[in-house]
């Protein structure tokens, strides 16, 4: 193959904790290869150099949660050929999307002395609610393996290989004892997209779904199961309404779980 010019990559931060950008910087062993394979043209967390756009690839971490971000994502979209939403904030709104289920101004008043200085949107939303996204990458934060696969695929010009299989598959490949069956801990593993390496169950806790819904998720059935395992009332609903809670499949299931919980209470 003839040597293709190195793709120009820009990395942006929106409303987020920086964890996904750090996952890129944490590549260590691969950083030199990365520098050789792509032209990092814009990545404020890593370098002060800013090369002007347009860029071949724009990687965005974080959700859209301010009026400024809602504008900025449109400009970025126009400036990049391939737009990648990196991590659960960019892909599903992130943990900050919890405010989507309540009145954001109420929260602001409780937390801040002068909420009038805040500029925020009522909701924290994924990039895809604002612009067309070419590739959505789940994880809170994204795993190193995922980042390498995304970048490698982009360099090689193919679609990344993210099998839509559940966390359970990784759990069992690792030989981890199922926390739901052996300890009765509510776990999202059966309906959550793998890729994390199933680290939570390996450490004795249930999966809380940070990689979003898996391809074949039967969430309704899992909600029923988790309700029977609840250690406190409403635990299963909270579990769905978590890091990926704003993902449509989880949103729907959480509403359903909340409805069932209310019905239970009424009894």
């Amino acid at each position: 193959m003839a040597a293709a010019p190195k793709p120009k990559v820009a990395v942006y931060k929106f409303s987020s904790c920086d964890g996904c950008q750090l996952s890129i910087l944490n590549l260590e062993d691969e950083l030199l290869d990365l520098a050789g394979a792509v032209d990092i043209a814009y990545f404020l967390e890593a370098t002060r150099t800013e090369k002007p756009g347009p860029y071949d690839v724009g990687i965005v971490e974080g959700s859209v949660s301010t009026p400024h971000e809602a504008e900025r994502i449109k400009q970025i979209r126009e400036n990049v050929r391939i737009l990648v939403s990196l991590g659960t904030c960019a892909t599903a709104g992130g943990i900050q999307a919890l405010r989507n289920f309540v009145k954001a101004s109420d929260l602001a008043e409780q937390v801040y002395a002068h909420p009038e200085f805040l500029h925020y949107l009522d909701t924290s939303t994924p990039l895809s609610e604002h612009v067309a996204v070419d590739l959505e990458v789940w994880g809170c934060p994204v795993s190193k393996k995922t980042v390498v696969e995304v970048l490698t695929a982009l360099v090689q010009g193919r679609r990344p290989n993210f099998p839509p299989s559940p966390v359970c598959l990784e759990c069992k490949r690792n030989g981890t004892v199922c926390v739901a069956v052996a300890q009765g801990i509510p776990c999202m593993g059966p309906v959550v997209h793998g890729g994390c390496g199933a680290i939570c169950p390996a450490n004795g806790r249930g999966c809380y779904g940070c990689f979003g819904p898996s391809g074949a998720a039967n969430i309704t059935s899992l909600v029923n199961i988790n309700q029977s395992l609840e250690r406190f009332a409403g635990e299963s609903a909270l579990l769905i309404r978590n890091f990926s809670g704003y993902a449509p499949a989880f949103r729907k299931a959480a509403d359903e779980a909340a409805r069932l919980a209310r019905k239970e209470e009424a009894k």
Binding site: V148, Q156, P164, N174, A216, L222
Partner: protein
Amino acid sequence: MTDQQPSIGSTVALAKPELDGLLADLRRGGFRTVGPRARDEGIVYAEIESLADLPRGIQTAQKPASYRMTQTGQNRCFDFIPGSQSWKQFLFPPRTELFTARKESGKWKLDENIEEQPRYAFIGVRACELAAIEIQDRVFMRPDFTDPVYRARRAGLFILAVNCTHPNDTCFCTSMGTGPAHKAGYDLCLTELDEVFLVQVGSELGRSLLAKRTFDLPSAFVQKNAADALESAARSITRTLDTDGLPELLMDSLESGRWAEIGKRCLSCANCTLVCPTCFCWDATDLPDLTGKTARRERVWDSCFNLQYSYMAGGNTRPTIRSRYRQWLTHKLSTWKDQFGVPGCVGCGRCITWCPASIDLTEEIPALRAEVKK
């Protein structure tokens, strides 16, 4: 104590601490001794060095979607029923590096993984588990194709079997004709009593290892105790699966509405296939590096419950959970027999215990049977 030499087919009584010497001899002989250990509220199979590593005093209670361990304080090491792990992880590892492709001056080269396969001694193989290994032998060592990883590991394998004396609620080996007592296929087979192990010799290697130990001829009393324990174990298994005409029943039930009913509960999480000691599906994936100049190719466990499993350019063959569950159950109990001459189920009950949704094939089969009868 006796001067007599054990012979193949004979039974001796072995004081429990003698097992340590046997394990040490195996390890000196180059075997990696793996056996049950209590870990993370379950029994796992891992490296063990001595009797002290075994889950002494632990009993288990299993039912659909539940596995619990209790400590009885008794001096017994094999009173539990195995957990989600099975021995297949050692003969057919969940991840195997196959080779690395390397691009040199524009051409691809291949570095095969020439790592020597480990030699295992399995300590505490149940009768259903041994039956499962024999089923996987048929899968991985066919006349027309042999899996080199499996073959090498299987050829070097030492099996210390254990007869089951405390079956759990999800066990149905008696229906599948595989347990709870061993028949053959082991090197040594233990029946555990409070004070001693009764050891049956199944192979020359087993005999020679046992010959180095201090053992007694078993008293009639000990032999009767063991026989009673096995008999009562078999009697205690109440779960049944009627295998009469089962392959045909399933093929006649392909259009049953029952599949859709199961599909509503089934999570398609793949757990049943991964804990199953006979399920053999695998996938191969590439782990390329960023330069695009090397790619490691790895073989990993896969499952017919995964969406990508039946993916084709023209569309997914089994896009619904209903059809994926049907594929699993019909394969396990029907078409497996067409492929390998025996059904793919040994009655270990893992798929029942470890299904988070409590789906129970011993409930589903009678339901299908009732439907066909109508």
